[in-house]
């Protein structure tokens, strides 16, 4: 995938001016937060579950090697195979090898952000194997030649007429020449066409939301049932996942289940929770004959023991981006790589380097909504702050910004001077604000005043007010 994170600011500007995108983002803002809030309100134990999930994930991370080895042993015991991939390239090669071994011409895919992370589709296509996305949203994007802009609602940026256009342009070869305009008809058309793809595929690739150490099980969570057809009908099932998805027991995975759908879509639970352990058993009339799990690291193990370890608790629910005012204004593509929103602002610098993603940890108002809804209580603003610190250490922050910060730091270390300067500043701003108390334009603050007025301070600084109110002060 082409990385556009370095041009985040230009991406964001373009997104703000993109009318169809803005209409689509309106649907997001109107939908997810309210649904989550309603689901949470129905479960009095929700906050306690979040604490328990945070503690469980912390326990897992502290013993990650042990649980991964246990998981591997149990997968093998039930006739499955586990493949460890250090990085994206290794993962792609392993998966290609498995597909070639199976003599695969076409591969159906359930929704998987990990396969986005490793750029699997292009790689398979380059090697003569056709990947077919089957999640409706992913399918729409594949036809449009796009990547997901959201981790669970990949096509959230696409409007109805754009779906109509995409289907109309691509479905003619299946004899569907009429341009459909109703969501119902469009979905039926995709259902019909993808049915044949499911039945013809040689390999089915899914992700895994959880890997259960105790039983050697991978779990997928879907609403459409495409993941199930993907993994049940072809001869080979490959589950592509990452090392931090392992959990000890069925009961532990159940705890996380109670949080996942409520946090994501506000559903009480997903429609299909599918727990897969190995290939088909003797006497089974259906199911895959081969079962492979690809465990991807790709830099995750480097986060252990670092200030970013907490990020490995993430269960990819999307609540943080659904509640983020920045994501809600610009959508996911502006972030420029696979993972958008607050979780992406922490993960992307890790994966593609802070020098390529320095804008992302700054693309936050630090309002804290992400942390307040995260089911595993990841302190996202704090982690973004850590990236800002690293960015500063690496001298990646812009010259003007560093200079301004330097001047401010010099002043603030001289309290008497600082107070005098702020007093003068406050007075000047008050005068500029005039009768309305609002400043329409100001040198050096054009980035703010181009879009909104700056409320003028009332002429007295915090220190002056504080001195007055203190016991023994002026009041």
């Amino acid at each position: 995938m082409h990385i556009t994170s370095p041009s985040f600011k230009a991406n964001a500007r373009a997104a703000l001016a993109d009318a169809p995108l803005q209409r689509a983002l309106g649907n997001l803002r109107a939908g997810f937060p309210g649904k989550r809030a309603a689901a949470v309100a129905r479960l009095p134990e929700f906050e306690a579950l979040r604490d328990a999930a945070r503690d469980l994930k912390n326990h897992i991370l502290e013993h990650l090697d042990f649980y991964l080895e246990t998981f591997e042993a149990n997968v093998k015991q039930h006739g499955g195979q586990v493949h460890w991939a250090r990085d994206a390239e290794e993962a792609r090669q392993i998966i290609l090898g498995l597909c070639q071994q199976a003599g695969a011409k076409t591969v159906t895919k359930g929704k998987s952000m990990i396969t986005e992370e490793i750029g699997l589709n292009d790689y398979l296509a380059q090697h003569g194997i056709e990947p077919i996305e089957t999640d409706l949203g992913e399918y729409i994007l594949q036809l449009r030649g796009e990547h997901p802009s959201h981790i669970i609602a990949p096509a959230i940026h696409v409007n109805l007429d754009q779906v109509s256009d995409a289907f109309h342009a691509h479905h003619g070869r299946y004899g569907k020449t009429e341009r459909q305009t109703e969501p119902r008809q469009l979905m039926n058309e995709a259902r019909e066409i993808l049915r044949d793809k499911f039945l013809a595929a040689d390999v089915g690739i899914t992700g895994a939301n959880f890997c259960i150490a105790e039983t050697g099980t991978t779990v997928i969570v879907t609403n459409e049932g495409n993941g199930d057809l993907t993994q049940t009908l072809p001869r080979v099932h490959i589950a592509v996942t990452s090392i931090e998805k392992v959990v000890p027991t069925l009961e532990d995975a159940t705890l996380l289940h109670r949080l996942l759908s409520r946090s994501a879509t506000g559903q009480e639970i997903e429609v299909y929770g599918t727990w897969s352990s190995g290939p088909r058993r003797p006497g089974d009339p259906d199911g895959p004959s081969e079962y492979h799990v690809v465990l991807l690291d790709n830099g995750r193990s480097n986060m252990l023991g670092s200030e970013f370890q907490d990020m490995l608790r993430c269960i990819r629910c999307s609540a943080c981006m659904n509640h983020c005012p920045v994501y809600g204004a610009i959508g996911g593509h502006a972030y420029g790589w696979v993972y958008p929103g607050p979780m992406g602002s922490v993960l992307t610098p890790q994966f593609i380097g802070i020098e390529n993603a320095a804008n992302l940890p700054n693309a936050s108002t630090f309002c804290g909504r992400c942390e307040s809804v995260c089911p595993v209580r990841i302190p996202l603003p704090k982690l973004m702050r850590h990236w800002r610190a690293r960015e500063y250490e690496k001298h990646l922050t812009p010259q003007g910004f560093r200079f301004g910060l330097g001047v401010w730091a010099w002043c603030v270390r001289r309290p008497a001077l600082y107070r005098r300067l702020t007093r003068i500043g406050a007075c000047v701003l008050k005068v500029l604000g005039g009768k309305t108390g609002r400043i329409r334009s100001l040198p050096l603050a054009g980035g703010w005043t181009a879009w909104r007025d700056l409320p003028a301070p009332q002429g007295r600084t915090f220190f002056e007010q504080w001195a007055e109110r203190r016991p023994g002060g002026g009041r």
């Binding site: 609602a153 299909y272 352990s277 089974d284 259906d286």
Partner: protein, 223 residues
């Protein structure tokens, strides 16, 4: 070095450990796996059995499944016939070989049945359920020679026969039954199913029947 050793080595380095987990810490993790204790069960899922049955019906209905209640197993074929007629399906179904379903008198209800895995084009299927979970109106189905997984996903309509005595409050109770009655390893596939297939990927408008069944019908036997 293999990818496996490199990854495990890097994890251990990050955790500040030279080698594999050992001693008391390892024993504690092994004990945790053996005990597989439930972590936190919501009060909603801890009620007397009759309330759990009522909760199951309410939650399954909310998840857009339809529920028909019958007094005994002998009444199931007639209930399925009524469902097929109402949905405009032919009186034909592909059914699970499990005795609980295949042992019923389908001919008497005028339904033509075949016990096998599903194929493309099958309109309706009938399968048994291992358990019903009241907490969210969720069905738990197990794959096996008696219950092919494709029956749960390929047909347009999926009918599940569930004995009311098999309804539990929380998911954890269903796992406990599975451990006790079947033991590990788990079946190839355990399916949790809550309502029919759906997608909101087109303009965030929810539509039923994305890839899996368009209708999920539960025939609840007894009380």
């Amino acid at each position: 070095m293999s990818g496996r050793d490199a990854i495990l080595g890097n994890i251990r380095r990050g955790l500040g450990r030279g080698g594999p987990l050992d001693g008391a810490a390892r024993a504690a993790c092994e004990e945790r796996l053996r005990a597989h204790r439930p972590v936190l069960i919501p009060a909603r899922a801890q009620r007397p059995h009759d309330e759990q049955v009522a909760l199951f019906v309410a939650m399954a209905t909310e998840a857009a499944a339809s529920v028909a209640r019958v007094a005994g197993a002998d009444d199931v074929p007639a209930a399925v016939a009524a469902f097929l007629d109402q949905g405009g399906y032919p009186r034909r179904a592909v059914i699970a070989p499990a005795q609980a379903v295949s042992g019923l008198d389908w001919a008497a209800a005028g339904i033509e049945v075949e016990a096998r895995a599903a194929r493309n084009g099958d309109r309706a299927s009938v399968t048994p359920a291992f358990a019903g979970i009241a907490e969210t109106g969720t069905l738990m189905l197990l794959s096996g020679p008696d219950s092919p997984t494709t029956l749960n996903f390929l047909p347009d309509a999926h009918v599940v026969v569930l004995d009311a005595a098999r309804i539990v409050g929380p998911y954890e109770d269903a796992w406990a039954w599975l451990r006790r009655e079947r033991g590990l390893p788990l079946p190839r596939t355990v399916n949790w199913i809550s309502g029919p297939s759906r997608s909101a990927d087109i303009e965030q408008k929810l539509q039923m029947g994305a890839h899996g069944p368009i209708q999920l019908h539960i025939v609840l036997v007894g009380d």
